[in-house]
Each structure stands twice: as structure tokens, then as C-alpha cells.
Assembly symmetry: C4
Homo-oligomer: 125 residues x 4
């Protein structure tokens, strides 16, 4: 196989962390970034985080091993730099050394019932 | 960097403002247009609004500064012209002078629990 | 302007009509096909409906006037032929004489609260 | 017609089977893969399943007859090999001998009310 499927650039305009919700719910409110690497080479990815009123934070490093899918919780410290994304509007840009496929999901539990939100990223090379 | 990521034309066929809902809910019913500008130049965008049975309203002007994401509430006056989009079916077309990435979301609270809806726009140059 | 935005072929693999739900709910369970025509020429569209175990029904005719968006309820008779799509899995293919943009949505109310589902179509020329 | 619409490669990064939920709910928690074949030739598809921490399972065989849509429940044994996808994060890659269009949906009922999630796949040839 060698080269994996997908693109090297992925962008998600609409990130906005929901509250975690009450303890004891079947699912905690959160957002997750899912990255699939179907190739034979590890994916080294830099994540840039954009905001409404301040400069972007660039170059958060994450890795997805060859032939693996990895989930990155956005409500946890992100990347080798362990950056905490603050509450409020943000966007993500992923730049990878190899082809990947990325998707962003939100689970919102600020109510008795779960609401889902998911979107395949905008992709390019 | 210079030129940003994405496309200059973005289209969202399915807009339909939900009711705001009861006061005191954790989230107000609304739709939002999210626009990310990853480039070094401000994005000057014209928004055209299409309807089912009347001519489109064209050229609502909004701006997204360089390296910023901005959220435009559809249930608030839109653009420099402060146009109020009426209830009922509508579509949006964005035309930008520089590359952008756009996404449209709805939060519906006409029930005790939130329902989410999101869609990445159709894009072209 | 002349030619409108989008593509002439749009496909939605996953259609499955939800029940209408109890009378008196704020929203009736249904699916809707939304079609935007940004061009100056009326769009004449043929809709083909695919099923799991029988031949497709082809050539249902609908029209979207120039510079208009139209919503086609899937739980109502569809096209000039007034075809009733039965309950169960179905797919839609739209073929248009001019460029259009199409999106499919579901509102499910078989529970006290609404659940949303939406998807931009797969498009090509 | 002959050749059908779509692409031969489809990828879904974010699979994660929800619990089936209590008996007697109007809808069972599950994920479904929907595949449409608009062409005149049967589609022979190989599905590869990727995981977070183990090697992918490759080559699960499914078939979608000419001019048909088929739904594959992910919470049931998948393909001729009747492979049971375990709970936890997984990704799907479909490789087909002919063009197809694929979509993945989740219905989550781990709460009194249903939550929907759907995504059109990333596609390429």
C-alpha cells in the first residue's frame, strides 16, 4: 500500500466546547477529533487553533500511527504541548506529513438527553 | 502564508430559523453561520439570501479579519445592512474576496431537549 | 449571472421516512429535500428513487424556478406524477438541466423530543 | 447507463457502536452503513475495519446488486465472514469494483430520546 488515503490538510470551522454536564450521565459533554491513518507510515500532525478575537495557537503536535484511528478529546489537554482549548468559538486546522481523514464530533448533554453533531472536515492538499 | 485555505464561494441550501424557545433554557434556539479566515488578509464577504417565493436579497456585507473565526447569528440583523431574515425557508450564498471555510449550524429547542443540525457548505471557486 | 451554482447530479443514499408522530407536536416527523437554484433559468429536475429489493422508480419531475429555493416534502406525493414513497429504505438521485445545490433533512419525533439529521448530497456533473 | 454514479473508495473515520438500549424503545441503538449502487452491474465491495490499538481487519465482503440500495447494520455480523465489530472506536474503508455512494448513520438511544448522527463518506477513486 504505502501512501494512505485522504488529504494532508483538514479544517473544521465550528468548534465550541459544550459543558461536561452532570456527573453520572451515560455520556459526558465533549468534542472529539477523529483522525484515521490508513497508510503504512506514521502521521505527524500539527494542529492550529483559531479564535474570534485573538491570534491562533499554532503547531500543536499529535501523532497517529500507521494503520490506526485515534481520537483526540478537545476538552482534554491537546498535543505534546498539552494546550487547553478555552470555552468559546474556535476552529481547527490539521496539517499532516501524510494523507489522513479527519472528522469532528460533539456530544451535548446540557439537557436530560444527548444531542449529536458531526461533520466531515473540509479537505485539500 | 499569505493566501488562506478554502474557497471563495459557499452555499447553504437549507436555512429555516427555529423559534427562540422559552426563556431560561441553557441554549436559545437559533442558527449560526461560522466563517473561518486562515489567511493574512481580511475577508470581505457578500451574503445573498434566497427565498421560496420572492427575489433574493443580495450583497449583505460582513467581514472576517485575517486569522480569525467569526460567528454570525442568523436570528440577529445580518451584515452592515442589518437585514432581518424572516422565518421560513431560506438559502445562503457567500462570495468572498479571499479563501474562507464556512459551516452552518442550527440549535432547536422547541422541545425540552436540544436538537442539533450542522452542515459543511457546498464550496467552489 | 446566467448559469447558477452547483452541479447537475445529486445523490442521497440514506432516506427512510420516520413516522409522523402524535398530533399536536411542534413539528411533524418527516423528510424534506431542499433544492436551491441560484441561476437565471428554471431548473427542470428528474428524481429517481432507488429501493432495497425492487427496481427504481425513475423520472419524477419537479421544477425549481430561477433564483428560488424549494422544499419537497418526501412524506407527500412527489413530483408531477404524485408518487408516494413507501416507508422503508430508499435513495434519491436528482438530475437537473441546470446547476443546483441539494440537501436532505429528517426530523424524527417518534419520541417526546425532536432528533435532527441532515446531509449535503454527493454531487457531480 | 452502464457505469453507476459515485466513487470506488469511501471512508468513514468515526464509528463507535452505541448501546442497543432498553427493550421496547421505538428504535434500537445502532449504526448502519448505507450503500447505493445506481449502475447496471453488481457492486462487490471489500470493507476494511481500522482500530485504535490493533491491526485492521481487512477484506470483509459485501455485495450490493445493480440498481439497489442496501443497509448493513454494524451491530450485526458484517460481510460473508460475519465479523463482529467490537464496541469502541473504529473506522471503515470501502473498496468497490464499481462506483457506489456510501453514508454512515448512528441512532443513539442511551437516553429517553433518540439522537441522530449522520455523515456522507469521504470519497475518492
Amino acid at each position: 500500500m504505502g501512501a494512505g488515503d485522504g488529504h494532508k490538510l483538514w479544517i473544521f470551522p465550528d468548534g465550541d466546547l459544550p459543558p461536561a454536564g452532570q456527573p453520572g450521565l451515560p455520556l459526558e459533554g465533549h468534542e472529539s477529533l477523529i483522525v484515521l491513518n490508513t497508510g503504512d507510515e506514521d502521521a505527524h500532525i500539527e494542529i492550529d487553533v483559531f479564535f474570534s478575537d485573538s491570534d491562533p495557537v499554532e503547531g500543536l503536535r499529535v501523532k497517529v500511527p500507521a494503520r490506526r484511528v485515534r481520537v483526540f478529546r478537545i476538552d482534554k489537554p491537546l498535543g505534546e504541548q498539552a494546550f487547553d482549548i478555552p470555552f468559546g468559538q474556535y476552529s481547527l486546522r490539521l496539517r499532516s506529513n501524510v494523507n489522513i481523514i479527519a472528522q469532528l464530533g460533539r456530544a451535548d448533554v446540557r439537557q436530560p438527553n444527548l444531542a449529536y453533531y458531526t461533520v466531515m472536515g473540509f479537505s485539500a492538499d
